[in-house]
Symmetry: D4
Subunit: 250 residues, 8 copies
Amino acid sequence: MLEEMLQKVANGELSPAEAKEKLATFENLGFAKVDHHRKKRQGFPEVIFGEGKEASQIIDISRAMMMKKDNILVTRVSDLKAKEIVKQLPDFQYDHTSRTLCMKNSDEMSLTKGYIAILCAGTSDLPVAEEAAKTAEAYGVEVRRFYDIGVAGIHRLFAHIDEIREATSSVVVAGMEGALPSVVGGLVSHPIIAVPTSVGYGANFQGISALLTMLNSCASGISVVNIDNGFGGAYNAVMIHRIANQTLHK
Amino acid sequence: MLEEMLQKVANGELSPAEAKEKLATFENLGFAKVDHHRKKRQGFPEVIFGEGKEASQIIDISRAMMMKKDNILVTRVSDLKAKEIVKQLPDFQYDHTSRTLCMKNSDEMSLTKGYIAILCAGTSDLPVAEEAAKTAEAYGVEVRRFYDIGVAGIHRLFAHIDEIREATSSVVVAGMEGALPSVVGGLVSHPIIAVPTSVGYGANFQGISALLTMLNSCASGISVVNIDNGFGGAYNAVMIHRIANQTLHK
Amino acid sequence: MLEEMLQKVANGELSPAEAKEKLATFENLGFAKVDHHRKKRQGFPEVIFGEGKEASQIIDISRAMMMKKDNILVTRVSDLKAKEIVKQLPDFQYDHTSRTLCMKNSDEMSLTKGYIAILCAGTSDLPVAEEAAKTAEAYGVEVRRFYDIGVAGIHRLFAHIDEIREATSSVVVAGMEGALPSVVGGLVSHPIIAVPTSVGYGANFQGISALLTMLNSCASGISVVNIDNGFGGAYNAVMIHRIANQTLHK
Amino acid sequence: MLEEMLQKVANGELSPAEAKEKLATFENLGFAKVDHHRKKRQGFPEVIFGEGKEASQIIDISRAMMMKKDNILVTRVSDLKAKEIVKQLPDFQYDHTSRTLCMKNSDEMSLTKGYIAILCAGTSDLPVAEEAAKTAEAYGVEVRRFYDIGVAGIHRLFAHIDEIREATSSVVVAGMEGALPSVVGGLVSHPIIAVPTSVGYGANFQGISALLTMLNSCASGISVVNIDNGFGGAYNAVMIHRIANQTLHK
Amino acid sequence: MLEEMLQKVANGELSPAEAKEKLATFENLGFAKVDHHRKKRQGFPEVIFGEGKEASQIIDISRAMMMKKDNILVTRVSDLKAKEIVKQLPDFQYDHTSRTLCMKNSDEMSLTKGYIAILCAGTSDLPVAEEAAKTAEAYGVEVRRFYDIGVAGIHRLFAHIDEIREATSSVVVAGMEGALPSVVGGLVSHPIIAVPTSVGYGANFQGISALLTMLNSCASGISVVNIDNGFGGAYNAVMIHRIANQTLHK
Amino acid sequence: MLEEMLQKVANGELSPAEAKEKLATFENLGFAKVDHHRKKRQGFPEVIFGEGKEASQIIDISRAMMMKKDNILVTRVSDLKAKEIVKQLPDFQYDHTSRTLCMKNSDEMSLTKGYIAILCAGTSDLPVAEEAAKTAEAYGVEVRRFYDIGVAGIHRLFAHIDEIREATSSVVVAGMEGALPSVVGGLVSHPIIAVPTSVGYGANFQGISALLTMLNSCASGISVVNIDNGFGGAYNAVMIHRIANQTLHK
Amino acid sequence: MLEEMLQKVANGELSPAEAKEKLATFENLGFAKVDHHRKKRQGFPEVIFGEGKEASQIIDISRAMMMKKDNILVTRVSDLKAKEIVKQLPDFQYDHTSRTLCMKNSDEMSLTKGYIAILCAGTSDLPVAEEAAKTAEAYGVEVRRFYDIGVAGIHRLFAHIDEIREATSSVVVAGMEGALPSVVGGLVSHPIIAVPTSVGYGANFQGISALLTMLNSCASGISVVNIDNGFGGAYNAVMIHRIANQTLHK
Amino acid sequence: MLEEMLQKVANGELSPAEAKEKLATFENLGFAKVDHHRKKRQGFPEVIFGEGKEASQIIDISRAMMMKKDNILVTRVSDLKAKEIVKQLPDFQYDHTSRTLCMKNSDEMSLTKGYIAILCAGTSDLPVAEEAAKTAEAYGVEVRRFYDIGVAGIHRLFAHIDEIREATSSVVVAGMEGALPSVVGGLVSHPIIAVPTSVGYGANFQGISALLTMLNSCASGISVVNIDNGFGGAYNAVMIHRIANQTLHK
């Protein structure tokens, strides 16, 4: 693509100044694919990390996106902040548990085959699990939820294991000792994205215990994202899901 | 499958004792799929974690596997131990850098489409990167290596970015500050498995610095495995690669 | 028990579908013994971890339990939350110090022999010690309290050592430097469950100091539970106490 | 007992000087019960922590014990040191895996009812598991071993769960992510002593990962001893086992 | 003293029951010297650690002490709590900076020779330094204050060094990098008690930085107490000061 | 200078008492250069660290400075406290983002050549970046801001790299994984002062992740200041900038 | 420069393919300035980090550099490895203390004005201090050494303070409590690069204590590099020194 | 003293140049008191920290000291190094346990009243305890040793408590859980210097567990030195002992 552009310069189809600007903004250099796939592919949401942003900032960014007909997902939004935003932008749907705001501006969805399994160990892990679920759904992916199936009552996991196995990948959310991904990892053959949560107390250290457990898992096929990062867990699963919905991309 | 078995018991095709044994070993309960896919699918290697095992133990396990015509990969084998093993089992190929032993007993390979990109930041990350590469190759997957492209000389990365983008996934290996996955994550749109290494000194803390960097990456689409876990990084990539080589598994 | 069930299927006494359901819920597989002993044995309490649950959730769960005539213990309940719950369910007794709610729905008690000793080092460890005491009492076990007997005034411990020795086990609660279990461990011959508390300041690190002290104790016969986990400490002691009240279980 | 002694002083049966010496050595004050039960009850071993002691020191201590006809257990003895000791004291049996020396000088055993279950997750946890097993056996307790049943292949655990359940307690040894006690804790109803091991690499931090997992277990009935402390795990189990073999001690 | 008491029993001057009680409370056994010196020596204060105690508790304890004519020092008292206490016990003097309450019920003072130097590095260390100063003064010791003489402006220290040198000991309070004790340690020849404070931000970690600095000091003659433990720093200095005021105690 | 003063004493131009006072205050000994350059060189601001100081204290210190016609910068001032101060001293300008108060009392500025580049990775790093910017500006140095150019969208950095290169030094502010200084360090040839911020969540540990990344950077020419220390970052840059504005100082 | 190149393409002076290659390698894009200044400016050394590289690798890299007439500095070379290298490349000078190899292939030096001060606290910090010194000297900068002037004997520092003040910057190397930079920072007005060393024991934690001290310094004008990173400390100082030797670079 | 010197300059008894030199070396400024008391007071040893110094360096330093008739103590000397040194300087006495070399060149001793108590918890703490003992003895102070009296067998402590109480201070050495100082602190009324040791394993973390225990002690009158710092513990005790041997110093 770069050579093509340079050829145009040689041919006089593109002025050096124009080419420089393109290179500078990397629009055509191929460096900007991320931006590209975020902004250009219809049906994919823009995601705004809401924590630390004021309501007014979120409203401004959202308005800019609405003009491009993007779907919009805002994560880490408190009830209070959400209320303020929804008053201005009533098309947003707020979900209390996952603390997400979602707005659908486009129906184009392509990831229709299969589903992602989202598991969590205890009811207190729900906010993180639901952040993951809402994220995947915002990308147009079907989610199946398997909640409250911690390893201390392992029969609860077994009752659902067949359905979990059929997913394209699993996002496994767990706090406290964080052992669920290890057990699931021994029972399924697709990739597992493990999400430690800060749920627990004492020597849990705000999720470090679960994080270390997951990094040290003796099961293969498990990779880990940051503590409480439900969005990140789902984002990785969606990337894998897209591969499952595509032939090999060129 | 469980109902089917119980039906056979009802029909008298299976004795209760036989059914019990099957349930006990979980061969047919569906719980044992992992074992199943490891042992039954030809062409897939058994992987032996060599660290902490004596040469004689590795030889014994390998001999058992050779009888099943499995490909065999042994990781974390020192030069000395390898020498001892190869003397007994001369079909093993030892690779000094990755510290792996490999033996090919089967040619059936199915993951022939596309390739995995393995990147590393510095030359000292080579042993971990090569453990990843040898692992993926043992699974029959083509690997393309992009080594010594750390962020302090970022033009080296850009020179290869197009080829990296075409991979089904990237395994990004980095020690010291571990920033490479973040930069790559902003430039590609496939899943990245980040592998922190214990390379560095001082406040590196045997890889913790790189691990934290990767967990905290501001780029999306990055998940992390344990420090120096080249095998784990590649295993996750192979799982994704298999999805890219299949239609959706049922 | 499994073979028996399968025999019934073979005999036609149980349909395959019925058997499958039983296996799925694990009621008869033997996996669910924990559930079994919790739910079926009269007089044993259900325990609800109150932290992070809303008053309405605790009320709902409690109502379901009340129908089964279970005793109920709720731990980690703030004054405010307790007030709200008691307004709806006036049979609950709230204890401010231990932050527990307790409701007696059954009188069947079997653990009547002997007592558990609960020791604490300082008055600030009282909430954790009392959580332990209330837990053991909810299980129908007699508790003897030995409070404020920290090692810096060791004669206070000696004044009670004979009575402590006669217990079936000791739950020893201590914050700050956490040295009490070590001293007690050298003076008694029954098992000691050590509970570190987050009481202290500065280099105490919310209980890590006490936790490490207990794990490193040079006295034998000491095992440790999580920081501030009074419930866990008592639960372990009750399990031992049950053994002391039974002949060997079959 | 104290009053009795003072009465004798009042009666002139005991001189003040004699009484003072007794108080000073605490032989009759009741403080010295630990020593008492260690030294006086036949059949119980003296245990020597071998690490950091020179062969000659171990030999000296052992000789003193042999004169009292005590059974002797020495833990943490390297092959080399063991060789040196056995040359002098050929009645010692050395066990390479558990690194223990054992000498039987007495046959009196009383803990003959039931057994302790010792579980370990992986083969690399064997040395710690065997230290636990040898310890329990030195105390005259039957041990049943359930090795290599880590959570990543959970069917292996289920194949043995009934036999594990019948033990008086379980010592559960696990390194890496240390999840095994949580799973076992959900399946049995006796006390579990969890022993984290330093087996693993990278973010395992010499056993901290497993230790935290165990302290944060969401299963009840689990208490924890220090990293690699197989002796401590078994010692706690033996104390519980003794209770199961006794009526309530007075 | 013990022998003497036993002699009295032998002589019939003391009944065995009386002797037992004395031994039980350790009044005469010599174990209770600490209690002894605290309670019996007039002029010495009782110290109450106010943190975590309610106003009513502090009032109750204080009243008990007032009857014995003890001086009373209460540390870690918030403004609010102090107000509540002073309303009930108007003889208490509250000091806002050091957060201490002080009540003088006795004039007997014996530590009149010399003084203790209390140094602090910055103005934010004042509350801890003043807790130390008020403590020493409550014990009747003269204090000289040398505040705001941190190492980044070392001439401020030099201006006072002669007066500091004449003290019986120094309590050196410092947060942030905590380097002041090292510098002072190289300039004086009396014992230095170093008190790290939690003053700072970022990589200060609530005083750990200063704590480590002080423990690692390359100057000799420095010992350290817990973070923010102004009381403890002064208590150690007072003990040394008492030695300086006495001939060698017998 | 010292010799000169002593010569004056010898000549009788200075009395021993006067000399002693001078030595004591170090005004002429050369030790007090810092004070000297702070107080005497017109146009340089006095900087007050506002955190932990009460409004009244800041007002008092400021008034003293105003009399000397110093420029004044107060850092870490909350909105509330600022309001209180500005009411008394209306010449102060408050900046909400950087939380700084600034007052210009002198126009003498000498650092007019060139500029300092201040970069930050994300919008949440703005408060720290602006604290740096306001600090440099208070010292009379031109600042150019390059904000929101994190490594996950590296083309944003490249668009500005030429202008960054022309600065005398860069202050690079980054939270989360903190990789920006490494990338910049590979692209420019002037000194980089890296400022980690506490922005992030989970395994970020209040800025430790970014701090470690920066300390371990594989790029040369990077030095680091404390977490969130925007002032410190700028102060170092100003010192370098002053060198660039001077010939070599004597 | 980019526009210029594109203009050449437009003019036909450069083929698109040639331009692409140039862009790919970034030789002319301006991105490669670091490489540029390293490779092109005569008299500047290439620096090889010797740790983890084998002698043969160092020899190969050195030979390539020798052909370009670069000066060469190799850091972290053990005596043994150095011997092996010098046998092949006898032009290398090995320095045992700093563990550096140095080879002069060019005399062009431009940084002739002024000097850098290198201070260290104790004699055990010498290897790191000398790594810094050799690095600066390899860049052609005069170094003045002020060794063994730790804060516990602060008069040793004062004896040299005037000469230190005249340097363009100071590299201050300290282990143990690492307080030296704070004291120096209060006495000089040029930038200080602080280098913590891993010298010490106990709670020193391989240099963390010194690192934290330096990051938390209450003196302004101090920035920090990684533990034991003498090279990095000097590199930063050289960058500042170059500014002092230049007029403002364009 | 300073004024006196200046007076001499004014009187012409001292030239300005001479005065300057004196000020520079601080001999008369009073800054050098530490050096002064070390070098000038006969009978006091010079102490050399032997770790990290080569035998030849220790020999050189010792020879210089021998000429001044100082007593010499060298700490942290391995057997091998000691052998080498003693061969050259046969007046040195080497003690294997404490790893100290000692040479007596002077008999003047003044600290003859009373003794220091050195306690240690276990036999593995002996090297640190003996380093403390040898240090105190080198300063001419009588030492009484109370070894192997850990809290798990507390009667061993009580047997010696009266003799411990009569000491001027106690140095209490303990590894593992480090609880001994807390218990002793409750029984004596003189200052306690606590020395944590790195003895232990697992969650002991090379002495951090013991260090934290000691810092968090609930007993008053305890201060702490660095891990394994037997020398430092004794040095503090000697300083206190000197006060006990003097009247108040002027």
